[in-house]
C-alpha cells in the first residue's frame, strides 16, 4: 500500500521537476557557460572558451571602476534594507490595532508595491530634477537650501537619491508581511506581560520580536536578494551615472548587454552576483539559527 502511494506522489511531482529544470537550471547553466565565452552579439561567428578573461575585464575596467561598483552595491543594499525594514515595521506596529479608515489607509500604504519599479524610478527622477524638481522646490521654500541641488547629477547626492526612491518602493513589502506575523501573536501573552508590569518597549523586544523572528529572518533574506538584483530604479533614474557613482553589479550587468551587446561579460557579472548571494545566504542562515537569537 505504502509503495503505491509514494510512487504516485513521485509521478505527480515530475511536471514540477521538469518545469523547474527547464525554466531555472538550464538557463542558469547556459549563463554559467557564457560567462567563460566571448559571447558578443556583434560577432556571433567565433564563440569559444576564453577562460577567466571576462572576469578579468570586469575587474580591471577603467571606465567603470569595479571596487566602486562593489561599494555602491553594498551601500545600496544595506541602506535600502535597513530603512525599508525599520519603517515597514513601524507601519505594521501602528496598524495592528483597528482604527477608523484602516482599510482605506492600508490600501494607500501598500499601493507602491503594485507599481512597476521602472515607473517608480521615472517619477522620483522628475521629483529630484535639478531644474524643476519638486524636492528642490520644497527644500528651498522651507529654507533648508538656497540654490537648487543637482540630486541626480552630483555624485555626492546621486546614490542617496536612488536609495530614497528604493526605500519608498520597498516599505509595503515589510509592512504587509510583518503585519500578518504580528497578528498571529497570541494576545494572552501581552495581557500576562502587562499584568507583570512590562512597558511597551519591553513587550516589543521580549515578546513581539522573538515571536515573529522566523518572519523577520525570511523577509530580510528575501528582500536582500531582491534589492541586490533589482536595477530598474537606478536604471530609470541615472542609468548608473554620473561617472559610475550609482552603478551597482546589477545595473552594470544590464549595461553590458544593452550598451555593449556583450553577453559574456554580463554573464560573468551574473555569476559574481550569484556567488555573493549564495555565500551571504549560508552565513545569514547560520547566524540567525544560533541559540542567542532563538525564542
Amino acid at each position: 500500500m505504502r509503495n503505491k502511494n509514494s510512487k504516485f506522489f513521485l509521478i505527480m511531482l515530475i511536471p514540477t521537476f521538469i518545469s523547474v529544470i527547464l525554466l531555472t537550471y538550464i538557463p542558469i547553466s547556459k549563463g554559467l557557460i557564457m560567462a567563460f565565452q566571448n559571447y558578443n552579439l556583434y560577432d556571433l561567428s567565433n564563440i569559444h572558451f576564453i577562460g577567466f578573461k571576462n572576469f578579468q575585464e570586469v575587474f580591471s575596467d577603467t571606465s567603470f571602476n569595479f571596487l566602486q561598483i562593489l561599494l555602491n552595491t553594498f551601500l545600496w543594499v544595506i541602506g535600502s534594507l535597513f530603512f525599508q525594514f525599520v519603517l515597514g515595521f513601524v507601519l505594521a506596529l501602528l496598524m495592528t490595532k483597528p482604527f477608523k479608515g484602516r482599510g482605506l489607509y492600508s490600501g494607500l500604504v501598500f499601493y507602491p508595491w503594485a507599481l512597476s519599479a521602472f515607473a517608480i524610478g521615472l517619477i522620483w527622477a522628475w521629483m529630484f530634477n535639478g531644474q524643476f524638481g519638486i524636492i528642490n522646490d520644497i527644500l528651498k521654500k522651507i529654507g533648508l537650501i538656497h540654490q537648487n541641488i543637482g540630486f541626480l547629477s552630483d555624485p555626492k547626492y546621486a546614490l542617496l537619491s536612488v536609495i530614497i526612491a528604493n526605500i519608498w518602493c520597498g516599505i509595503p513589502f515589510f509592512a504587509i508581511m510583518l503585519l500578518a506575523a504580528l497578528q498571529s501573536v497570541p494576545s494572552e501573552i501581552y495581557e500576562a506581560a502587562e499584568i507583570d508590569g512590562a512597558g511597551y518597549f519591553k513587550r516589543l523586544f521580549h515578546i513581539t520580536i522573538p515571536y515573529i523572528k522566523p518572519t523577520i529572518i525570511n523577509t530580510t533574506l528575501l528582500r536582500t536578494i531582491w534589492i541586490m538584483n533589482s536595477p530598474e530604479i537606478i536604471y530609470a533614474m541615472t542609468s548608473g551615472g554620473p561617472a559610475n557613482s550609482t552603478n551597482i553589479l546589477a545595473t552594470q550587468m544590464i549595461s553590458k548587454i544593452y550598451n555593449f551587446y556583450d553577453y559574456g561579460q554580463s554573464s560573468a557579472i551574473g555569476v559574481m552576483i550569484m556567488g555573493i548571494l549564495i555565500v551571504y545566504t549560508i552565513i545569514y542562515l547560520k547566524i540567525t539559527s544560533l541559540k542567542e537569537f532563538s525564542l
Binding site: 558578443n40 552579439l41 556583434y42 560577432d43 556571433l44 561567428s45 577603467t62 571606465s63 567603470f64 535639478g130 531644474q131 537648487n148 543637482g150 541626480l152 547629477s153 552630483d154 555624485p155 541615472t238 542609468s239 551615472g241 554620473p242 561617472a243 559610475n244 549595461s255 544593452y258 550598451n259 555593449f260 551587446y261 556583450d262
Partner: protein, 420 residues
C-alpha cells in the same frame, strides 16, 4: 440522438469557420517594426500604410511600435529569434550587428530595378552601402545637427549676430550666463550619445581629419594626442563649467530640448526633427536655425545619422515587403512623411522642388550640405567592433573629467589606447 445532433452542429460550425478563415488568409500580412516610435510619427506611418492598403487590397500591414527606449532591443530580440517580420526599421548603429548575424537581406538587386533609386542623393546611396559596400538597408531619413537659437532671448540681451565660430559662440554664451537668474548659454549634452556633441566641437580645431573616420587624421594617426585636440577639449570643458548649468552633466535628449524651450539655454545643437516640436511649442518667430559653427581651423566636421528600412533575410514575403518599401521611400511619400516629422529627405529632387524643404529653417542644412569647403561630412568608424560600447565608455570618461575625478592626460591616453 440528441448528442449526435449537438456534435454534428458543432462540427459544421467549426468547418464553416475554418473555410471562412481559409479564404480570409488569402491576404498577405506583412509585419513592420519601427524603432523611432513617437506618437505623432506613428500616426503618420499608419496613414501611409492605410493609403497603401487601399491601393493593394490583398496586402495587410501590421505595424509594431514599441516604446522608444526599448524599441531597438525589441527589434534585436525579434530578429535574433526569427519572429515573423518582413520590414524592419534599422538605425545606423545597429546595422553592423544585424549584418554580422546574417539577419538582413542584400537589397542590391532590388535597388538596381527601382526607378526611385535614380533621384536619390549621393549621401543616400553611400549611407546605404556603409557595410561591406553592399546595400543592406535603404535610408529613409537623415538626422543632421544644426545650431538652433532663441531669437527672442538673444534680442533681449542685445545679441544681433548669430555666432559663426566656436570662439564667438563661447563668448556670447559666457556673456549671457547669469546663474542667479537661472540663465545660461549652452545646452550641454552630458549623457546618452554625448560624444557626438563633444566630437563636433573638438574636431573643428583640426583641419586634417580623415573623412572616413572622425577619430583619425589624414596621416593615419589618432586625433587624441594632437595638441590642437587638447585645445578643443579644453574649450569644450569651459562650455560646461562657464556657460551651462551644473546639472547638465546628466542632460540627455529630452533635457536639452527642455532647456531650449524653457529659455534656460538659448543655444542648442539638434536634429531637424525638432523643427516640428519647436513650431508647435515656440512658434516660428521665436527661434531660428543656423549652420554649425566652424572652429579655428575654419572647418566644421559633422556626421549624418541615418535610419533606414530593411527586410529580414528569413522573411516569407520579400517581394511584397520590397514593394511597400519602394512606395514608402518614393520622393512623394518620403517628402510627405518628413514634412510632418522634420528630418531630412533622401531624394535630391525634394530639396529642389518641395516648398517646405526649401524654406528658411532648412536653408542652414542646405548650406551645410552644399559647402564642403567649410562643412565637411565625416563618417564614424561604425564598421569597427570597438564602436559598439564607445558611447558608454566615452560618457563615463567625460563625466569623470567634468567632475574633476581624472585628468585630461589620463582620458586622452585612455581613448588613444581604446582605438589602437
Amino acid at each position: 440522438m440528441k448528442k449526435l445532433m449537438i456534435v454534428t452542429v458543432l462540427i459544421s460550425i467549426f468547418l464553416l469557420f475554418s473555410v471562412a478563415s481559409f479564404s480570409a488568409s488569402e491576404k498577405i500580412i506583412l509585419n513592420f517594426i519601427e524603432v523611432q516610435t513617437s506618437p505623432d510619427r506613428t500616426e503618420l506611418i499608419k496613414k501611409i500604410i492605410s493609403d497603401y492598403e487601399e491601393l493593394h487590397p490583398n496586402i495587410q500591414i501590421n505595424l509594431i511600435s514599441p516604446p522608444y527606449e526599448q524599441a531597438e532591443q525589441k527589434a534585436t530580440m525579434m530578429l535574433n529569434s526569427n519572429q515573423p517580420l518582413d520590414i524592419i526599421e534599422v538605425k545606423d548603429l545597429q546595422l553592423k550587428q544585424f549584418v554580422s548575424s546574417k539577419k538582413l537581406l542584400n537589397l542590391e538587386s532590388y535597388l538596381k530595378s527601382w526607378s526611385g533609386a535614380k533621384t536619390l542623393l549621393p549621401f543616400t546611396l553611400e549611407s546605404a552601402r556603409v557595410i561591406d559596400n553592399t546595400a543592406y538597408y535603404i535610408p529613409e531619413l537623415f538626422y543632421l545637427k544644426g545650431l538652433f537659437y532663441r531669437k527672442d532671448i538673444l534680442e533681449k540681451v542685445g545679441v544681433n549676430d548669430i555666432p559663426k565660430t566656436y570662439t564667438e559662440l563661447f563668448d556670447v554664451c559666457k556673456e549671457i550666463t547669469d546663474p542667479s537668474n537661472n540663465q545660461y548659454g549652452f545646452a550641454f549634452r552630458g549623457k546618452a550619445w554625448e560624444y557626438v556633441y563633444s566630437d563636433y566641437i573638438i574636431s573643428t580645431f583640426l583641419d586634417d581629419i580623415d573623412v572616413n573616420n572622425i577619430y583619425k587624421k589624414t596621416n593615419g594617426e589618432l586625433v587624441f594626442k594632437d595638441p590642437r585636440y587638447l585645445e578643443g577639449l579644453k574649450l569644450y570643458l569651459r562650455f560646461y563649467h562657464e556657460t551651462a548649468p551644473k546639472d547638465s552633466i546628466n542632460w540627455g535628449s529630452n533635457e536639452i530640448v527642455n532647456g531650449f524651450i524653457s529659455g534656460t539655454v538659448p543655444f542648442l545643437f539638434q536634429d531637424p526633427d525638432n523643427v516640428v516640436v519647436f513650431n508647435k511649442m515656440l512658434g516660428e518667430d521665436k527661434y531660428g536655425a543656423a549652420p554649425l559653427p566652424v572652429g579655428p581651423s575654419g572647418k566644421a566636421y559633422f556626421g549624418i545619422n541615418v535610419a533606414g528600412l530593411s527586410i529580414p533575410s528569413y522573411s516569407e514575403h520579400k517581394k511584397e515587403a520590397w514593394e511597400f518599401i519602394a512606395y514608402f521611400l518614393s520622393p512623394e511619400i518620403n517628402s510627405y512623411f518628413l514634412k510632418n516629422y522634420g528630418a531630412l529627405p533622401i531624394h535630391s529632387v525634394t530639396y529642389e522642388t518641395d516648398p517646405f524643404f526649401s524654406t528658411k529653417v532648412y536653408q542652414s542644412w542646405m548650406y551645410m550640405m552644399n559647402h564642403p569647403e567649410t562643412h565637411v561630412l565625416v563618417k564614424y568608424p561604425m564598421d569597427s567592433l570597438k564602436y559598439v560600447g564607445w558611447a558608454k565608455v566615452h560618457e563615463a570618461d567625460m563625466q569623470s573629467l567634468l567632475l574633476g575625478k581624472v585628468t585630461i592626460e589620463e582620458v586622452l591616453n585612455k581613448w588613444t589606447e581604446y582605438w589602437q
